[in-house]
Symmetry: C3
Subunit: 263 residues, 3 copies
């Protein structure tokens, strides 16, 4: 028996919007510590990991650990039927072949129950190693989203380079080139989220823009995004989910010239 009641149901709606294009099917692991998911996109280039801790739910019960295979587009179809102010309860039985979503309107006038069929999905858990990163950048998520979209209209790849002063995004394509510099903001009096750089050594890595653009579908989850970079390691793009978890995207850097790489 699994049952989890989430007062801010909109969070679950946003999580699905943030992941369903990248990963169409995935296993949700439920245990007494919470709900987690890990999956590679269909082209096996990027990885999504999400975590919602049990203590963030109004009510959470999970008698034993199990996993539910779900089609995320179908789950999204159902969650779209929840109002933004609705309380959402997820329910499932270890032996059943459906998961239930119950949506309650704030005044209790409307109660909806949606049952989604489960699927068998084979997936390996990928065990992401905990790494010390060369540079960690925190910046307004809307700013990051906008820059990715803007550069996507010029080129196919983007170089992220971090120095003490800021983070630079560079691209080039047929019509020309572009680079955007976001400076570290030290003044705390701003209304916007600050841009903050935490760096051990300068780092510059190149990524496929279309994946980064896809990651920014999580923008509505959090006002800030954290970007972690280390040479030859996948970038981590992380959005916090309220105080109860996160969604993280991983993407391996492009190796632009095989000849020069011998390390």
């Amino acid at each position: 028996m699994f049952e989890a009641r989430l007062v801010q149901g909109a969070l679950l709606k946003k999580l699905l919007e943030a992941t369903r294009e990248l990963i169409t099917e995935a296993n949700f692991e439920v245990s007494n510590t919470g709900i987690s998911l890990q999956a590679m996109d269909s082209s096996h280039v990027s990885l999504v990991a999400l975590q919602l801790r049990s203590d963030g739910f109004e009510h959470f019960r999970c008698d034993r650990t199990f996993s539910m295979g779900l089609n995320l587009n179908n789950m999204n179809k159902m969650l779209k039927c929840a109002g933004n102010d609705d309380v959402i309860t997820m329910k499932a039985d270890e032996t059943a072949d459906v998961v239930s979503f119950v949506f309650e309107s704030p005044d209790q006038g409307r109660v909806s129950e949606f049952e989604l069929k489960l699927m068998d999905i084979t997936s390996e858990n990928l065990g992401i190693p905990d790494t010390e990163y060369s540079a960690t950048v925190s910046m307004p998520s809307s700013e990051f989203q906008r820059i990715m979209k803007d550069l996507g209209s010029i080129g196919d790849t983007v170089e992220l380079s971090v120095t003490k002063e800021g983070i630079k995004f560079s691209t080039s394509g047929d019509i020309g080139s572009a680079n955007v510099i976001c400076r570290q903001t030290n003044h705390v009096d701003k209304k916007e989220e600050p841009t903050h750089i935490d760096m051990n050594e300068p780092v510059a890595l190149t990524f496929a823009l279309r994946y980064l653009i896809n990651f920014t579908k999580a923008t509505s989850l959090s006002p800030s995004v954290v970007i972690k970079l280390s040479k030859e390691l996948p970038v981590v793009v992380e959005y916090k989910c309220a105080d109860m978890g996160y969604v993280r995207y991983y993407l391996a850097p492009k190796i632009e010239d095989e000849e020069e790489m011998g390390e």
Copy 2:
């Protein structure tokens, strides 16, 4: 000579938006009591009836009863050219082959005259009998619209079942199933339109969702919708038009299992 001046011209724009997809051509009957229209959709499954009483117009003159055959999409193209605050005057002569729409901006700075060609449309008046219904449900029109749209993403048909406690909408499809319960709201202190059930006996009927979804194009006409149900009879979905009339949609229920029906 027919001439009708409507100060709240936006009402006519909304009426066209509410009907033009279902019925592409129809005869508008004008008489000294007002304007009315009755037409089946092109697949002959649902019926639309609308009525605008003459006393709702600022000025209304109709020397003798006649009917104007109009293409509703073309009429809609012209009415879309009226501003939402414009006064609309309809004018036609029994012998002419056009109807005129005059739009006056509130400050009289702009006056537009559109002439729409009339068509010969053969139509039988269907004579809808006045029936006592088993259950009459009044609910917020936006809520009804939303539920129809939501369930339309899951299944093709919807069962409406009414009890003293409320109205339940149920559907199922390939990906799973859904049901939404709207409870009767007795408290009057709410800002929203109440959900009110008036019932002689419980009734449960199944309908094609896509027609009900189409009916909800009338949502902007009125904050509430009235749904009337009786066993084996077409459902009536009614939206009031200010204090001067209504648009009503009729749709026959689905008979799901011919075997079980012997009544």
Copy 3:
């Protein structure tokens, strides 16, 4: 060396939106008096002329006159990446093959530099003669936009006829006909831009609607539009750009019946 810094960068964004569909490639002429452009649309039916005077820029330097051939769709792609509150600086060297656009966010936190490749474009300067027009109409640009769009849903051409009382727009098509009259507004107390007629003699000319509709993409540049008409001459549709320039569109009238024209 050419460098021009425009505080209200949004103006440049709007100018591109106003021209890029009509003319896909054009030479921007830069000199110490400012920036200008003149180009025919790809079908050689209409002409666009724009002018930005150097005194409207916060900083303007142009050592010698030269022209930059630009693809306006590509330039638009880059200018779309500027925020509406960004300061935009254009930079180019007479000998270089790129033009740079630098966007600075108001708080200086973000600085973007886009380099657009130049093109060789052969163009003749058309030398538009300065003419005395029979009628000059000034009216709210949003009103003009709306009327063009509305009539475009009915017919292909529009007759503009000006009298002392106002300007009339007429069209007809398969479904019927339409005419819209905008009266001269003499009262100054209105919030809207006035409709003002300055006329030597009545004039009535017919134009292809789709070009006029295209011209109204400049609507966001100015709250009013000026329309200048003379018999047998192209109409001029002019939008002012702040206090520093304008964009003008020219379109030749239709000659509806060759037989009747012998003048």
